[in-house]
Symmetry: C2
Subunit: 237 residues, 2 copies
DNA sequence: AAGTGGTCTAGACCACCCG
DNA sequence: GGGTGGTCTAGACCACTTT
């Protein structure tokens, strides 16, 4: 089913990115947009709310919807947007090395992070990311095997997310991320080009399906000089 | 004006935190809630959408609204929630030291980060945060003086946010945050107890008012072992 | 006073899930 | 088939900003 407010949202994004209105200028009013798109005002408001959530506009009562400056890098470094999407969008020169893929039985570590029973089958994927000749990111993915019939080197080489959402029809709905800075463990030093760096940035990522079940746990380890996280937060009063 | 959906949202938060429903259980349906709170379904849906955005529930089509596990630490380490709120909520043993407060004229650095004209007056505040005897955070705040008549040591000692939103009636609407890891500069080593650490986590924070104007730039420097950032992200399809 | 976005209503139809 | 959440409508009143 085509959602009208989503079509309007996409249309407005396209017009904003074409710079039909400049930074600080006002979008047409909700009533004008309602007439232009031949719909109801509530539907326009849904589209504008998405624009607002994504950081395209700021709504000001009594005035209108102001176009705000949008950081081009405004997406998670590792999370709901897949690494492949990120690389494609930024047109980076990156190689992915699949270090290991296999089926494990849940040990206490996985039991804790994935909230599964002992010996529950879990897929493991270990990958490194190479930027201009240096391996600076180490990604360890753990997926509950329940939903995933097979995980191959080819899939991990391309994009696990594309496989999950494309081939398997799974829907990721939300994720919790935790970022800390840690001392490297032996595995980091072994698989990454750490040089003199004696810290790694550790991103723990818990991914949930649309039925609210925990499905995947990922540890992403970044060399500090290649780490960058950008966040856009709206205050709700 | 009292917003009905906000009252319902608060009521439901209170009921969820009282564990009227357990993790994984379903909230009453929208129609039941509509009758219970004597309102329309759209108003109930607004309240539920806020619950969903805040990570209390996950809506599942055809089934209902599932209570999800909510991380107690699910708020920004430094950003839209003020440091004071954070400390109060977590009941931490923290001291704030105001190292410097004063009025500056915008130099090229401030011109870039605050997008102001040369020599525009800007308040500066430099504070360190002491946890169990060690100074582990350094906060440098820059506020465009336009909106702020006076900034005193007392205000900085307590909470700048409380002053802005309470006393001055300013409304913060959104912020952009950028997290990186850097080598400490001399000032860091001077004002913080860095010990052997040769990295600091740098959080750059750009704060906007409700008329979408940039108002404040903050650099928050954390000793790596005391840094932790938690993020909850919802995927929009 | 006119225009803006914010809230609220009552009703409708749809897609999806489950017994 | 009955219940669930998702979308959409047309209209109303409010608070706020600008003219």
């Amino acid at each position: 089913m085509k959602r009208k407010y989503d079509l309007i949202y996409r249309s407005l994004v396209e017009r904003i990115e074409r710079e039909e209105w400049g930074i600080g200028e006002l979008l047409p009013s909700e009533n004008e947009l309602k007439d232009h798109y031949r719909t109801s005002r509530e539907t326009i408001r849904k589209a504008l709310n998405v624009l607002s959530q994504k950081g395209y506009i700021q709504k000001v009562r009594g005035k209108g919807s102001v176009i705000i400056e949008r950081n081009k890098f405004n997406f998670p470094v590792s999370g709901l947007v897949s690494f492949k999407e990120l690389v494609d969008k930024m047109d980076l020169d990156v190689k992915t090395h699949v270090e290991d893929v296999g089926l494990l039985k849940a040990d206490p570590f996985l039991q804790e992070h994935l909230q599964v029973a002992k010996d529950e089958p879990v897929w493991q994927s270990i990958r490194t990311r190479e930027f201009s000749g240096e391996r600076v990111i180490l990604d360890k993915d753990f997926l509950i095997a329940d939903h995933v019939p097979n995980l191959t080197t080819e899939i991990c080489q391309d994009s696990i997310y594309a496989y999950l959402e494309g081939e398997l029809g799974l829907t990721i709905s939300f994720a919790k991320k935790e970022i800390t800075v840690e001392k490297p463990i032996e595995e980091d030093a072994c698989l990454m080009d750490l040089g003199d760096f004696n810290h790694v940035v550790l991103i723990r990522n818990y991914v949930y399906l649309d039925d609210a079940t925990l499905f995947q746990y990922t540890e992403s380890r970044h060399r500090p000089d290649r780490f960058r996280f950008v966040d856009f937060a709206r205050r709700h009063h």
